[in-house]
C-alpha cells in the first residue's frame, strides 16, 4: 500500500509491510504469516494503529472503486464481515459522493499555473505587462535613490523583540510577605505570562494552563509560529504533535517529528493562519509507546 502507514511503524514489527497488512485484512495471508501477524497484533500497539488506518483506507478504496476486481471480490467476501466495517464503507461512500461534486471548484484555488482565469497568450498583453513591470521597477529605483527621506516615512523602524518575564500567578497573587488572606485577584493577562514578540516560542512541559506562555500573533510577515517543544531529556524517537484549542478541537497536526541536533527539543512550525487569540495546547505523542506530553500557550 502506501508509505503513510510505514510512518507509524516502529522497531519491533516493521517487517510487516503495508501490503501484508492489506492482505491480512482481505484474509489472504499464508497460514504461517497469519499466525505471526496475529501474535504481533497482540504484542504491538503500533501495528494495531497501522491496521486500523489500513482498514479505513481499504474501505475508501472499495467505496471509491479503486480496487482491482480480484481485491473487490475478496473485500466483499472476507472483509465486510462486521457491522463496524460496513459502516466504514457507508461513510467512505457518502464522503466520496459529497466531495466529488465539489472536486472542480476545490481544484481552482490550487491552480497555480495553467488556469483559465489569467492566461497571457496574446503578444499585446505580454508587451503591456512587461512595460508595466519595467516602469514600476524603474520608478522604485528612482524613488529609493533620489528621495530616501520620502521612503523612510513609509518604512517602519524595526525594534528588536523583547521577552517580558513575570512571576507566576501564584507568586504574584499570594506574596509570602502579605499579611492578608490569599484571595484570588483577576489581573490583565499580560501579568500572567511570558510574552514573545518573535516567531520562536519555547514551550516547557512544566508549564500549566495557568501560567501558559503568551504568543503574540501580530507578525504579518511571518507565515509560521515556530514552537520549540522542550523534551524532558535527550530522545531521538519519532513524535507526532496535535495543536488543539482549550476545548480539545484540533486545529493543526504534524507527523514524523524528531528532535534536532541537540536531541532535547522538537521544532514545530504552526501556520499563523491556524492560530486565533485564545488558549491552546500542543499534545506531543511519542509514536512507539504513545507517551504524550502537553504544552500550553495562549495566543493574542
Amino acid at each position: 500500500m502506501n508509505d503513510f502507514i510505514r510512518e507509524l511503524s516502529q522497531q519491533p514489527w516493521q517487517d510487516f509491510s503495508d501490503d501484508a497488512i492489506r492482505r491480512f485484512l482481505l484474509a489472504e495471508l499464508s497460514t504461517n504469516k497469519q499466525t505471526a501477524f496475529e501474535r504481533a497484533l497482540f504484542d504491538d500497539s503500533s501495528l494495531e494503529a497501522r491496521v486500523r488506518l489500513a482498514e479505513l483506507a481499504l474501505a475508501d478504496d472499495y467505496a471509491l472503486r479503486r480496487l482491482r476486481p480480484r481485491e473487490r471480490a475478496a473485500f466483499q467476501e472476507r472483509f465486510l464481515l462486521t457491522a463496524s466495517r460496513r459502516r466504514q464503507v457507508e461513510v467512505s461512500t457518502v464522503l466520496g459522493e459529497r466531495f466529488a461534486a465539489h472536486s472542480k471548484s476545490s481544484e481552482l484555488p490550487l491552480q497555480a499555473t495553467g488556469g483559465t482565469l489569467f492566461t497571457i497568450k496574446h503578444a499585446a498583453w505580454k508587451w503591456g505587462f512587461a512595460a508595466a513591470v519595467l516602469a514600476l521597477l524603474l520608478g522604485g529605483v528612482w524613488l529609493v535613490t533620489k528621495e530616501p527621506q520620502f521612503v523612510k516615512r513609509f518604512v517602519p523602524r524595526r525594534v528588536p523583540p523583547r521577552a517580558v518575564v513575570a512571576p507566576t500567578p501564584e507568586v504574584a497573587h499570594h506574596a509570602v510577605s502579605s499579611s492578608k488572606s490569599p484571595t484570588h485577584k483577576e489581573e490583565p493577562p499580560s501579568s500572567l505570562s511570558h510574552e514573545f514578540a518573535t516567531e520562536t516560542v519555547v514551550l516547557n512541559s512544566k508549564t500549566t494552563v495557568d501560567n501558559a506562555t503568551l504568543v503574540t500573533l501580530s507578525q504579518p510577515h511571518a507565515p509560521f509560529v515556530h514552537l520549540q517543544l522542550m523534551l524532558d531529556g535527550v530522545d531521538s524517537s519519532s513524535y507526532h504533535a496535535e495543536l488543539m484549542t482549550r476545548a480539545g478541537e484540533t486545529v493543526y497536526s504534524a507527523e514524523g517529528l524528531v528532535a534536532g541536533a541537540a536531541g532535547d527539543r522538537i521544532d514545530l512550525n504552526v501556520p499563523i493562519g491556524q492560530l486565533k487569540p485564545g488558549e491552546f495546547q500542543v499534545k506531543l505523542t511519542r509514536n512507539f509507546d504513545g507517551a504524550s506530553t502537553t504544552y500550553y500557550f495562549r495566543a493574542r
Binding site: 503513510f4 510505514r6 485484512l25 504484542d43 464481515l81 464522503l95 490550487l110 478541537e249
Partner: protein, 189 residues
C-alpha cells in the same frame, strides 16, 4: 432471585472483575477492553470467520468467567490470554455446521439520508483546516486524485504520505462522530 437475573448479576460481576484484572484504572481498563475486542474481531475476520463479533464476545465472556480462578497466579501479558481462548473458540466454531450466508439487505435510503445529515453535522465540527484537507482528499477521482493530492501536499509543505495519514486521522474522527450521530438518531426514532 430468578435464575436469569442471577445470571445477569453474575455476568456483571465477572465483567467488572475482568476490567479490574486488565487494569486497576477503570478508564485504562475500558480502553484495553476495546482494543482487545477490536483485535479479536480483526483476527477472526482474517481467518474467514463469518461471525467475528459474536466469537470475540464469546471469547471475552469466557475469559471473564475464568478471571476469578486465574488472577492470583497469572503471569505474563494478559491480552495474550485472550488469544489462546479465542483459538479454542475458533476451533469449536469450525466444527459447527456452517451457518447460512446472510443476504445483505438492500440499501435503506433513509439510512443513507441520515448518514448524509450526520456527515454534514460532523464536518461542521471540524476545523476549517481539517475540513479543507478532508474535502480535497476525497474530491477528485483516480489519477486526478493522485495529482491533486500531490499538489495539496506540496502546498502544505508535507509529503503525500503525511497528507494521507493526516486525512485518515481526520477520517477516523469523522467515523466516530458519524456513528455516534447515527446511534443518537436511531434512539430518537
Amino acid at each position: 432471585m430468578s435464575p436469569a437475573k442471577q445470571l445477569r448479576t453474575l455476568q456483571k460481576t465477572d465483567f467488572d472483575r475482568l476490567l479490574a484484572w486488565l487494569d486497576p484504572n477503570p478508564e485504562r481498563a475500558g480502553e484495553l477492553y476495546e482494543s482487545i475486542r477490536w483485535r479479536l474481531i480483526a483476527i477472526l475476520a482474517a481467518r474467514g470467520c463469518r461471525i467475528p463479533e459474536e466469537l470475540a464476545d464469546e471469547t471475552i465472556d469466557r475469559v471473564a468467567r475464568r478471571v476469578a480462578d486465574i488472577e492470583a497466579n497469572y503471569v505474563g501479558d494478559k491480552s495474550s490470554y485472550f488469544l489462546g481462548v479465542m483459538n479454542n473458540i475458533h476451533h469449536e466454531y469450525l466444527r459447527r455446521p456452517s451457518p447460512p450466508r446472510l443476504v445483505e439487505s438492500p440499501e435503506d435510503s433513509k439510512v443513507k439520508e441520515q448518514t448524509y445529515l450526520c456527515l454534514d453535522n460532523c464536518l461542521a465540527k471540524l476545523t476549517p483546516h481539517a475540513r479543507q484537507i478532508i474535502g480535497r482528499y476525497y474530491a477528485a477521482d483516480k489519477q486526478a486524485k493522485i495529482n491533486l493530492r500531490k499538489r495539496i501536499a506540496e502546498k502544505l509543505g508535507i509529503s503525500s504520505g503525511s497528507l494521507r495519514l493526516r486525512a485518515l486521522r481526520i477520517r477516523t474522527k469523522l467515523q466516530t462522530c458519524i456513528e455516534q450521530c447515527l446511534e443518537m438518531s436511531e434512539a430518537e426514532q
